[in-house]
Amino acid sequence: MEKKRRRLFRRKPRKLNRSMAGNGIMFFIMFICGIFMALPLVMIINNALKPLDELFQFPPKIFVRNPTLENFTDLFVLMNNSWVPFSRYILNTIIITGGGMVGHVICASLAAYPLAKHNFPGKNLLFSMVVLSMMFSWTVTQIPQYIIISWLHINNTYAALVLPAFSFGMGLYLMKQFMEQLPDALMESARLDGASEWRIFWTIVMPNVKPAWLTLAIFQFQQMWGNTGGLFLRSEELKPLQYSLQQITAGGTARAGAAAAVTFIIAAVPITFFLICQSSVLETMTTSGMKD
């Protein structure tokens, strides 16, 4: 209690080794570059709000003059007319994106912990296989992957998208790198108390690498959200939202307004997810100081 109160009233510590001039220069650089980086965001938002005549204006202008929500109402009308009810696409997306993300974060973290903190035969071989696999062009492996998926009889099911996503290479590498930084003493003391490895993993390792798995969740969400089902899903009832939205934009010039709204939605969903995760990344480590 005493300790808690002290922390509550503690004055914000002065930052070490920072000069005012340096801060000013940093801020200036960030401002200039920020304008460039924000360009696509600005453009997507403005386009979504433009009435049709402004969308087709030549030469094109970035900023909207008479903002309207027409594009979104158009899009909703189109959505209601789709052959498969739109809620079905949303359900598919939740299963594919959510399943692929949660499963990957859990599988990759579970595999990363022994690789980071234990010594056992085959460790280096397994790890270097994962790192190397990221360097092989994905375009080429798609065909063999398709053959294997048909052979496993999971073609045209959610599993065809979700199961491969569990084993993407990047997640394991990311998690392993962060877990490596944890001090061994942290786990050793729990082991002396008789905790099993599984328990150590859930109660000690994972909470301490929260920034890592939140970041991984962002990557994986983005990856799965962008998936249209491609080769592996043929049934219309199994296709994700991304697919149906892209079908709407494929309507050509007549649907330019709805297409602008689609572009907005396709970007807005991962951005929302990003903001939720990112704000928790930033608050975790200020509270725990467990390092050696």
């Binding site: 920072r18 570059c33 980086m37 375009t139």
Partner: protein, 310 residues
């Protein structure tokens, strides 16, 4: 004496492979779900692809073995492959290190801000990566007539007399693609650096200040970077896989094939054979060469990174 041999014996016993595997049983259980799937969906396809690179395979007939034929053709007869290889190397050598340093620099500067400002800045800088095909913005900027933003501005300033067809003029294609790639490259590495900076122990900075670290640059080199070495390694691998595999932006902005192959990269060449000409054997050979190139670069870069902070 007898005691000693007993100790030795038990030490020997502990060193046998079977014993070490049994003792770490739980490790294997933990890794099983990931690695079983990894074997089926990644290892097998990669092995099959490498095997296919020694065959002629048009995706309809059963592949026929042709030995080194694909590789020989690649290096001795295919001029376009050599152009694309050269472009890819230029790409990788220029964008790789620059974008790596930019990722690190921006992540580090953003880390200086606090709370909401930091989250907002992270979003802005990550925006090009999260907005799907955000590089389409550049189509507007680079439009070849005088209404394209870049041409418009340059003409207004009197630098140009007439509009330039940016993506249709050979000498501008590669430099423009490099700029766009740099703009796009604050992705995976950048976010992992942001997360990595969060895990650096704050007390290290205080200790370093007492030890005589005087400004933020010294702090960066002697304290921050060594503390986040694992993330630096990770970022480097991601950077290599990105900068060697550039294809989408080239195809979207310069077309495939581009003017006189000025924007051709190894992966656009691969896509040309894989998805247009349906010659999967040849495409697999291209992928294998690219793979070896990346593995070699990775070895080199990891060796360099080990010396950070020394």
């Amino acid at each position: 004496m007898a005691e000693q041999t007993a100790v030795k014996k038990s030490a020997n016993k502990q060193n046998t492979l079977g014993y070490r595997i049994r003792r770490n049983k739980v490790c294997y259980f933990m890794m099983a779900p990931y690695f079983i799937l990894f074997f089926f969906f990644t290892v097998l396809p990669v092995v099959i692809s490498i095997a296919l690179s020694f065959t002629y395979f048009n995706m309809l007939e059963f592949p026929t073995f042709v030995g080194w034929q694909n590789y020989i053709q690649l290096f001795l007869e295919d001029d376009i492959f050599l152009i694309s290889l050269k472009n890819t190397l230029i790409f990788a050598v220029v964008t790789g290190p620059i974008s790596y340093i930019l990722c690190l620099l921006f992540a580090w500067i953003i880390n200086e801000f606090s709370g909401k400002v930091r989250a907002f800045l992270t979003l802005i800088f990550y925006a090009p990566s999260i907005c799907g095909n955000a590089y389409m913005v550049w189509n507007l900027i680079l439009t070849g007539d005088r209404y394209g933003y870049l041409n418009g501005i340059l003409i207004k300033l009197g630098i140009l007399d007439e509009a330039i067809l940016w993506m249709k003029t050979e000498k501008y294609v590669l430099p423009v693609l490099i700029v766009v790639q740099l703009w796009l490259s604050l992705g995976t590495g950048f976010l992992s650096f942001i997360a990595g900076l969060q895990t650096v122990d704050k007390t290290l900075f205080e200790a370093a200040a007492l030890d005589g670290v005087k400004n933020r640059w010294q702090e960066l080199w002697y304290v921050t970077l060594p503390a986040m070495k694992p993330q630096l390694m990770f970022g480097a691998v991601m950077q290599i896989t990105q900068s060697f595999a550039v294809a989408d932006i080239s195809i979207q902005l310069a077309g495939n094939p581009s003017v006189n192959y000025a924007g051709a990269t190894v992966v656009t060449h691969l896509l040309d054979y894989g998805s247009t000409r349906f010659d999967m054997g040849y495409a697999s050979a291209i992928a294998t060469v690219l793979f070896l190139l990346m593995v070699g670069t990775n070895k080199l870069v990891q060796r360099m990174l080990r010396r950070v902070g020394e």
